[in-house]
């Protein structure tokens, strides 16, 4: 027995000498635990549904999705509207070049946990939702092969209608609302238009001829339109919202410092006060005044950084315009003051542990501010699922959505469903 005890003691000493890995962030484990809870509850619900004979559309009830229900105001002062694959598209489709999988729009009120399905297309891709300033309607792009159209719905999901018609491949894209919430600025091949948000009524503001436009955004005050012109060089131009008084803000042949390391402007956002544009140019974020002055680089990714390691993207202003949030190569979420100072990384992407090495990459992306500026929502993909997570400014998780495969294009605003 003494020998036995010695052996036990010796074995324990040897085992205790093993240096354990440092414990991963507890939030990662909690997230994994929550996934297990959701899977368990889903399995139980599925069993109940099978017993009840409820299949087909009943599957949406499983995830708490009910088309057309009113949307409530919640944590952060609003509702998150986003695009995601329909529940029938599970598991997520394998990416295929030039193929956009079907998707619908959903609304999630973070502190109720409920997700409402807003659009119903089975073979269309609904993407890029933009809520009207009065909080009553949502404009979005609908890809119905072979082309994109801009549609508008009420925030409850009803009255789905196109605001443009055409047979070209790029019939209408990039909707942005006028402050009165009655009209939209869009672009279609070679031209920029103001269109009525109800059925009918459009006015061409600018015409280039074939090609030439990459992105269009109306300023929040409705006075200026910024657009990306890509004819002989990569330019950002600002003009009055009636199509007059064009002013070149940046031009990107390589002689231009803003794009010397990259090759062009990818996207831009207006500041809430309509005075500044936030540009994503190559790997970095820049800000530039609407008058072309006060140009400033906000991030510092070196031009030669390894792909996937340093890439500021999906940036947006906080509602008060004082802060900017973005994701870095989908590996972390960072916010900073709008002059680039006081940068704080609040979330890092989950790591996919060894058994999942061959699974899709894990990431965090598409951060947006809550209407009260107190929280940040973003898409998180781990090896189990894709969800939307809400954190406070300290990076502490405060809400997590049910699985929403293919989630993207988040917008978080106060909604006011129709009377």
């Amino acid at each position: 027995m003494a020998d036995h005890a010695d052996f036990e003691h010796w074995l324990r000493l040897l085992a205790d000498a093993i240096e354990p890995d440092p414990p991963p962030n507890v939030r990662r484990v909690i997230r994994r635990g929550r996934t297990r809870i959701v899977i368990r509850l889903t399995t139980v619900a599925l069993a109940v549904m099978l017993v009840a004979g409820g299949l087909g559309w009943g599957a949406f009830a499983l995830a708490g999705l009910h088309h057309g229900e009113p949307v409530q105001t919640g944590l952060g002062g609003g509702t998150i509207i986003f695009s995601a694959y329909p529940p029938s598209l599970t598991p997520a489709p394998t990416p295929v070049p030039d193929y956009v999988p079907p998707s619908n729009l959903y609304a999630w009120v973070p502190d109720t946990g409920r997700i409402v399905r807003l659009t119903n297309g089975h073979d269309t891709a609904d993407i890029g939702p933009v809520v009207s300033p009065d909080g009553r309607r949502v404009a979005f792009e609908r890809l119905q092969y072979p082309g994109y159209l801009v549609h508008v719905i009420d925030v409850g999901g009803s009255d789905d209608h196109p605001v443009t018609t055409c047979n070209l491949s790029e019939c209408a894209r990039d909707p942005s609302w006028f402050p009165e919430s009655d009209r939209l600025v869009i672009w279609r091949t070679g031209s920029i238009w103001a269109v009525n948000a109800d059925r009918g009524g459009a006015k061409m503001l600018l015409h280039f001829g074939p090609g030439g436009i990459g992105h269009v955004a109306l300023s929040p005050d409705g006075k200026l339109i910024a657009f990306h012109r890509n004819i002989s060089s990569s330019d950002v131009v600002v003009m009055s919202s009636d199509g007059t008084h064009q002013r070149l803000l940046t031009s990107c042949p390589v002689s231009e410092s803003l794009c010397a390391d990259l090759g062009g402007i990818d996207e831009f956002r207006w500041s809430p006060d309509s005075t500044t544009l936030l540009l994503q140019a190559g790997r970095n974020l820049w800000r530039i005044g609407a008058d072309g002055r006060d140009r400033q680089r906000l991030t510092s990714c070196p031009p030669a950084a390894t792909p996937g390691t340093c890439q500021a993207e999906n940036a947006s202003f906080s509602p008060d315009g004082k802060w900017i949030v973005y994701d870095n190569a989908r590996q972390s979420i960072t916010f900073m003051q709008s002059d680039g100072s006081d940068s704080r990384t609040v979330v890092v992407a989950p790591t996919c542990p060894s058994p999942a090495r061959t699974s899709p990459v894990c990431w965090v992306s598409d951060p947006v501010w809550s209407p009260d500026g107190a929280f940040i929502a973003f898409v998180v993909t781990d090896r189990v699922s894709t969800r939307i997570e809400v954190v406070d400014r300290g990076g502490h998780e405060v809400a997590m959505s049910p699985p929403v495969t293919g989630a993207g294009g988040l917008t978080w605003q106060e909604l006011r469903p129709g009377d």
Binding site: D3, H4, D6, F7, E8, H9, W10, L11, R12, L13, L14, A15, D16, A17, I18, P20, D21, P23, P24, V26, R28, V29, I30, R32, G33, R34, T35, R36, I37, R40, P353, S354, P355
Partner: protein
């Protein structure tokens, strides 16, 4: 002595090292141990309301991680059988130095290994080990004796006596 944890976070920080080591001892692979320990804690979080009230939550965790590690090893063995050219069972290519005890345990069959770890590292009784592994107490006694004998061979019995 197991102190009742006040929060999951506190329990996680306090218990992680021993749960990780158990996973590593049974699985024989550091990366897998990390993942298995996380999975065990995720399961604890899933049932935290009840887990936090049981008398020895750490022992419960050890049983969970032991079973996870055994399942992992079974899957590894199946995968190896299907792709024999891969070989090198239980070893991580990224691993430089394997602790002596882990190297020795790798030579002990999985069921014996789990019994040895649960009995002599996790400090479970024969009955608790039997419940954890779904085996009869008599089987656990037998596996325990066989495992120890095998481990002594690997480590050297003289060293054990001197220990």
């Amino acid at each position: 002595v197991d102190a009742r944890p006040s929060t999951f976070e506190e329990f996680y920080r306090r218990t992680w090292p021993v749960v990780f080591r158990s996973a590593y001892l049974i699985a024989g692979d550091r990366e897998a141990a990390n993942d298995l320990a996380q999975e065990a804690f995720a399961r604890a979080f899933e049932r935290w309301k009840s887990v936090s009230t049981i008398e020895r939550p750490e022992a419960w965790m050890q049983r969970v991680v032991a079973n996870l590690a055994l399942s992992w090893r079974r899957r590894q063995r199946l995968a190896r059988d299907r792709t024999p050219s891969i070989g090198n069972e239980g070893r991580s290519s990224s691993e430089e130095a394997v602790p002596l005890i882990v190297a020795a345990l790798r030579a002990v069959p999985p069921s014996q290994r789990a019994v040895v770890v649960l009995r002599f590292y996790v400090d479970l009784s024969i009955e608790e080990t039997a419940r954890a592994l779904g085996k009869r107490p008599s089987t656990v006694r037998s596996l325990s004796a066989q495992g120890i004998a095998r481990l002594r061979e690997q480590l050297g019995s003289e060293e054990v006596r001197d220990g």
